[in-house]
Amino acid sequence: MLVLQAIIDGVLVGGFYALMAGGLTLVFGVMEIVNFAQGILVVLGAYLSYALYSHLSIDPFLGLVITVPAMFLIGIAVYWSMIKPIKQERVIMSLLVMFAVGTVIEGVLDLIFTSNLVEIHTSYVNTSVSVGRLIFPDVYLFAFAMSILLLGGTYYLLYRTRFGRSLRATMQNPTAARLVGINTDWVSAFTLGIGVALAAAGGMVFGQTNSFDAASSYDLISRLLAIVILGGFGSLGGALIASILMLVIQDVVAVVWSPTWGQTTFYIVLVLVLLLRPQGLLGRKAVRAQ
């Protein structure tokens, strides 16, 4: 029974981790850049939702109407100012640039909000639905529903719209895409915008379920990166499966054995999977040389 509850917890929490990881994997798939700032961007999203809630009493879920577009624009701005100018070695340079950007954002957040831990306390944070002896916390139910919606929407965007076609084309072969007339710069900018916007949504949930401050980003980014590798770069579905898998493994191990081994087990699973499938669960077959 306990294990079943743990699995449920893992699935629900994994759902919203998929939001944050989804943004990361998409960005890497399209532009081959590792957005090392994703962790701090999630925290930024959390702070934005927190500020709206505590000063203007706007419910965090509703507040997404403001935070998501705002973060989308931030993503675009970051692309044009930071990523586009990189001319050489995009993978490594972008990683370092995003790390630097993340550091600056962290410093600014720390300055504004100080390092006091905060949390968004809505009325539904403590309530839950029970089915038999199983508990489904309300906030996670809402978050899970929202994640499916957003990820589904993004998937629709990718596979049913013209923009999505352009994006996938850029993912597969940027040069060819450009030859066909696709403006890969705008595609990339939009993609980063989407990635950051998803981070905003994930951040809103993160802010409700965790006490956080600017330094919370480090642990987050390492988990997100692990999820993305496991799921396979560029695959939204992979991110979802990997997130759920990670959280379920962690929670079940915590219950059955010990919480201290939960995360370790996940990382070990990650390494094992990668030995057998270096491209991750749903990633494309990797080209060996670089």
Partner: protein, 398 residues
């Protein structure tokens, strides 16, 4: 940058044991964590020292000389602590140094102080590793980790028949010994452990552990938490619709208004938390400290962090000792502190054991009753309220 190093070097002439001049201010060197993992507490620590310095300066300073604080930031990093205290001692030539925040940082800090023959009085580094170094210069004015929950354990054993207890704690050098201290006492008195889960610092999801606790149906739950996990556990237990009869957390419920906001006012009743200090206590200089702190930093008395009191206590002990030996010599100070003298502080009496722990420390136990945190244990010290024996169900108390 090289020029800066040269300037720093030229500002000194080798090292000395900080005698400074014999008039002019007495300088106290401190490294606090103003950023990084410990920054919230680091800030409170700094405020505590500043309050003490302001108070003491209005009362004649130390040995008739004004106190001047030389504060450096260490970003919660042991590397920086190493450099900071070396600079304070050998470049800034402070007269004394006092401790940083946390066991993790106090350890290297005390080693460096020892190297230069400095005493390190501190209030916030009570993990066993600090005292196991075999150094003679460390003096912790607060109750060390393993004693913090003993008051609670003693009360439970005296008032309850042996029953299952569920334990969970962060694997922290302070919190875990704290929890283990209570656990060993209770186990020795016949209370079995239904659950004993340790979780790492980076855990963000406590639901599995909370579920395990709920499933055990243990009516006594003891948690070695910091505030974030302290709040999260309560939320998770509420979500699990599980209300134990006794719930004690190492920290979280001691955060005043932040705690009430985090868990909801109707859920606080009956929750217990240890603390070495509370605003209403009548120990030495406490009322004055609270008043001065509020004047300097604002807020309400209930929001004053215990770190403030711990830092202030360190300052008080320094004052009393230095005034007694009538000297700024660190070696004389060390001998005096080891001479079984009892000092007074806002946290109660202070008397140092040979390894530097405070043997006279009285860890209090507090309980939320009707919306305020009340001192309930130990019975007979100060004016405690009676303990609420059974915690009300979630949502019922306020």
């Amino acid at each position: 940058m090289v020029a800066a190093l040269v300037a720093a070097a030229c500002g000194s002439s080798g090292s000395s044991s900080g005698s400074g001049n014999s008039s002019g201010p007495i300088t106290i060197g401190i490294s606090v964590s103003l950023s990084g993992d410990f920054s919230g507490d680091g800030l409170a620590t700094k405020q505590g020292y500043e309050t003490w310095a302001a108070y003491q300066n209005a009362h004649g300073g130390i040995l008739g000389r004004k106190i001047k604080l030389d504060i450096l930031s260490d970003g919660s990093s042991p590397t920086q602590v190493v450099t900071n205290y070396q600079k304070l001692i050998t470049v800034s030539h402070v007269n004394f140094v006092v401790g940083p925040y946390s066991t993790l940082l106090t350890k290297p800090a005390s080693a460096i102080a020892n190297r230069y023959g400095f005493v390190m009085i501190e209030g916030i580094g009570g993990g066993p590793s600090v005292f196991q170094q075999g150094l003679k210069n460390v003096f912790d004015v607060s109750a060390s980790a393993k004693f913090q929950m003993i008051t609670f354990a003693k009360w439970l054993a005296a008032n309850h028949k042996p029953e299952k207890v569920a334990y969970a704690s962060m694997t922290d050098p302070f919190l875990q010994p704290e929890l283990d201290g209570a656990r060993s006492y209770l186990t020795a008195h016949g209370f079995p452990s239904a659950v004993y889960k340790l979780y790492p610092l980076e855990t963000t999801d406590y639901t599995p552990i909370a579920s395990a606790i709920a499933a055990s149906k243990a009516q006594v739950v003891v948690l070695g938490t910091m505030p974030p996990d302290g709040y999260a556990f309560i939320q998770d237990l509420i979500q699990d619709k599980y209300s134990p009869q006794v719930l004690a957390e190492a920290s979280g419920p001691d955060q005043g208004a932040a705690f009430v906001k985090a868990v909801g006012a109707s859920n606080t009743s009956g929750i217990m938390v240890p603390n070495t200090w509370f605003p209403g206590s009548t120990f030495y200089q406490n009322a004055a400290m609270v008043q001065l702190y509020l004047k300097m930093f604002g807020g309400t008395a209930n929001n004053i962090s215990a770190d403030v009191a711990e830092a202030f206590s360190a300052g008080e002990v320094l004052t009393q000792a230095a005034d007694h030996i009538k000297s700024t010599s660190n070696s004389k100070l060390e001998s005096y502190l080891h001479s079984n003298v009892t000092f007074q502080s806002v946290q109660g009496p202070v008397k140092f054991l040979p390894d530097g722990e405070n043997g006279a420390a009285t860890p209090f136990m507090f309980q939320w009753q009707q919306g305020t945190l009340q001192d309930v244990l130990p019975a007979g010290v100060g004016s405690p309220k009676p303990v609420m024996a059974v915690k009300p169900a979630w949502g019922a108390g306020a």
